[in-house]
């Protein structure tokens, strides 16, 4: 004889008043009489051998005398009743219903059938009688047991052999109050999801369920889909007020609208109060249990959002943070943009200066080597003094080119041009003069170094190099109001300003003027070229330079 001690102990532990008996009756109709389940109240049951998913003796809040046994896999159930020795068994009556139809009605216990039993491990001896073996597959067996001493205290046990139907939401109703008048609005036969807008006058939402014999089995919960928290739970169905077409009072639950703190998506879940994992040998998949569950989505819109203090604080904090962050970001962006603008400007200026330097350096090679060649000639002609003179002029010019000086005084520029023209004179033998206004402070007025040199070089190259000794170059430095005007005039053949590639020198000069204008923004450099058949005049105006 095998007794499943674990099961037994569990039963005893949970239902203290329960008496467990071990039947010695031979196995009948395939029932496993070796294992006993508590069935609620004074009842025990045996079920088919090998039957799984026996959910036994489920109790309900506010229903102390109702027990529910869900036996989806069981074909037959044997029900026995067990009395303590001090109980007057003769006063007990029992009624058995199969699918609400009485099989036995107010029958007394058959005293002759009583046997002494005791629960496994328990010392106490009980008197036990079998109420019968009932086919339960697809049926509902209900037992009602009471003592004539207390006819109102009827212990009811349900042995549910049918599949438990899932609950059906018949309707929603909303209770509102305005100007002391209550009103109810209805949403009938809702499908899948329903939208509700709660205003200040709305009070509560009612959920109406279909009527069944086992309403007490279903409990309702509401889940906030945003955080998957259960915000409402109820096992209680109210009756009355709402009546079905066939005059039955329908079960409903009342939900205070204030449970909905926020607009959003909520879910109503109605399901049997059966813990699907809490039985001996449970084997029901979540997919299976989901069949018992009724779900309905609510989209709640609150006319006025409710906020908890905590939320308000956190929102305020978050708001401040976001604003602060934005402020910082904007500040940073402005700062960075300014910095970028500055660096860009700085970079442009630097590039311009570099370009200027490189152009300055580019001006000379042809002249330089020819000048050296000229000196070589003087040496070879044994004109040692002249060779010395020109060599030092050449050195002075080269030094100036190599010097990274940005500005030089007018007198320095004059000396350099003098040197340069004398070297060119050596090559081509023209005449030249350099004239300066008397009102110019030659020593203290500074101009970008090598400013006029390219124009002078051009005058030599294209102007008078072919005219030999007849050629004349005149250079003037003039003060005109606040402007400094520098001119180079030659009596050469002139040149065509339209012709773009009029020598490297002039092209470089144009880009040089553009570069200078980008560096000295406050002073504008303007270049005017007046060519004619009898020579050309170049004037460079440094606006507001003086």
């Amino acid at each position: 004889m095998k007794i499943k001690l674990n099961v037994m102990k569990k039963i005893i532990f949970i239902f203290l008043s329960l008496i467990v008996a071990v039947s010695t009756v031979n196995a009948q109709k395939g029932i496993n009489f070796n294992s006993i389940y508590a069935a609620g109240g004074k009842l025990l049951m045996h079920v088919d051998s090998g039957a799984r998913n026996v959910f036994y003796a489920i109790g309900f809040p506010n229903q102390p005398r109702t027990s529910f046994n869900y036996l989806p896999d069981v074909n037959n159930v044997s029900i026995s009743i067990n009395f303590r020795k001090n109980i007057n068994i003769q006063h007990y009556r029992y009624t058995i219903l199969a699918d609400n139809k009485p099989i036995a009605l107010n029958k007394p216990i058959n005293m002759t059938q009583l046997k002494d039993t005791h629960a496994g491990g328990d010392e106490e001896i009980f008197s036990s009688a079998t109420l019968g073996i009932f086919p339960v597959k697809g049926k509902i067996i209900t037992t009602l047991i009471y003592s004539i001493d207390k006819p109102q205290d009827i212990d009811k046990a349900v042995f549910y052999g049918k599949p438990i139907p899932s609950a059906k939401i018949l309707s929603f109703s909303m209770l509102s109050k305005s100007d002391q008048i209550y009103s109810t609005s209805w949403v009938k036969d809702p499908k899948g999801s329903t939208n509700f807008t709660f205003t200040e006058k709305d009070l509560q939402l009612n959920i109406v369920k279909d009527k069944s014999d086992i309403d007490y089995l279903y409990y309702t919960s509401i889940k906030d889909k945003k955080n998957n928290k259960i915000i409402f739970e109820s096992t209680t169905w109210r009756y009355g007020g709402i009546i079905s077409e066939d005059h039955e009072q329908l079960p409903f639950i009342e939900i205070d609208k204030n449970i909905f703190k926020k607009s959003g998506e909520y879910e109503i879940i109605i399901q049997p109060s059966i813990k699907w994992t809490s039985c001996f040998d449970c084997d029901i998949s979540p997919k299976e249990t989901e069949k018992y569950v009724t779900r309905h989505t609510l989209f709640i819109t609150l006319a006025e959002e409710n906020y908890t203090k905590k939320e308000l604080y956190s929102y305020a904090l978050m708001g401040t943070f976001v604003i602060g962050l934005n402020f910082l970001l904007i500040l940073n962006a402005i700062k960075r943009r300014n910095k970028k603008r500055l660096t860009v400007a700085e970079q442009q200026k630097n590039t311009a200066k570099l370009q200027l330097n490189s152009i300055r350096a580019q001006l000379n090679p042809h002249f330089l080597f020819n000048a050296l060649s000229g000196i070589q000639n003087l040496m070879n002609k044994n004109e040692i003094d002249n060779a010395n003179k020109y060599l030092s002029k050449f050195a002075r010019l080269t030094r100036n080119v190599l010097d990274d000086k940005e500005l030089i005084s007018l007198s320095q520029e004059k000396t350099l041009l003098d040197d340069y023209l004398q070297m060119e004179q050596l090559r081509f033998g023209f005449k030249y003069e350099i004239n300066c206004s008397e009102n110019l402070d030659l020593d203290n007025v500074e101009i970008p170094s090598m400013l006029l040199q390219p124009f002078v070089e051009n005058a030599v190259k294209h102007g008078i190099s072919k005219k030999a000794t007849d050629g004349i170059i005149v250079i003037t430095f003039t003060k005109q109001a606040n402007d400094l005007v520098l001119t180079v005039i030659d009596n050469g053949n002139g040149f065509d300003t339209e012709k773009k590639n009029n020598g490297l020198g002039l092209q470089l000069s144009n880009s040089r003027i553009a570069l200078l204008n980008s560096i000295y923004k406050e002073n504008r450099f303007t270049l005017a070229i007046q060519p004619s058949t009898s020579g050309s005049k170049i004037s460079l105006t440094l606006t507001d330079w003086l």
Binding site: F369, N370, S373, L426
Partner: protein, 248 residues
Amino acid sequence: MKAILIDDEISNLQNLRTLLEKHCPQVTIMATTQNIDDAVNIIEKYSPDLVFLDIQMGEQTGFDVLKLLPARNFEVIFVTAYDQYGIQAVKFAALDYLLKPIDIEELINAVNKAEHKLATQIQNLQLDFLLQQLKKPETNVSKIALQMQSEIRYVALSEIIRCEADNTYTRFFLSSNEKILVSKSLKEYADLLRPNGFLRTHQSHLINPKYVKSWLKEDGGILLLTSGEKIPVSKPNKGTVKQALQQL
């Protein structure tokens, strides 16, 4: 040798005359001129053996003088202060040039070479070659003149597999399996041929990337050429060589 000097600057003419008289007694200066039109006339009049020709002459070039002449059976030594454009073509034609101020030794060398060439060849094809080169953009050169001991060879760049330094000489390896020894340094040819895609892989090696078969990883850097030769790639050149070969 009958010589004519052409330069737009009188001092240069004077200088060159002084130097030639002093150091090159075999040269007889027939005439000098500062003017291109004059130059053509003088050359036709004197039929010189040697012409010293300034490249940059005001807004014209010494090349213009050559173009104006129907026949060019004389040697030319170019004289220039600073002229990238002309010099490149002159080098491709393996012609001689002097830089101002004039180096006396270079002058003597150039005159001697000219004398030698005059003795060995009748017509100066190099000048024709030069004028052809000048018509093309610099990077579109397809041939180069190689000055050998007693002749000038005109070699298509596509024929050149590689060049190898041999002291101050350069040995050219051609696709015809011919080898030509030229009395110029590899560096000069490296500079000259770089715009045409030639790669300096090593201190003593210049290669035509067309003839690269593969890059052998073993031993650091070695290029295998289609000719089967293995050419070393030195460390400092690895990067540029790799990059250049990837772009092919």
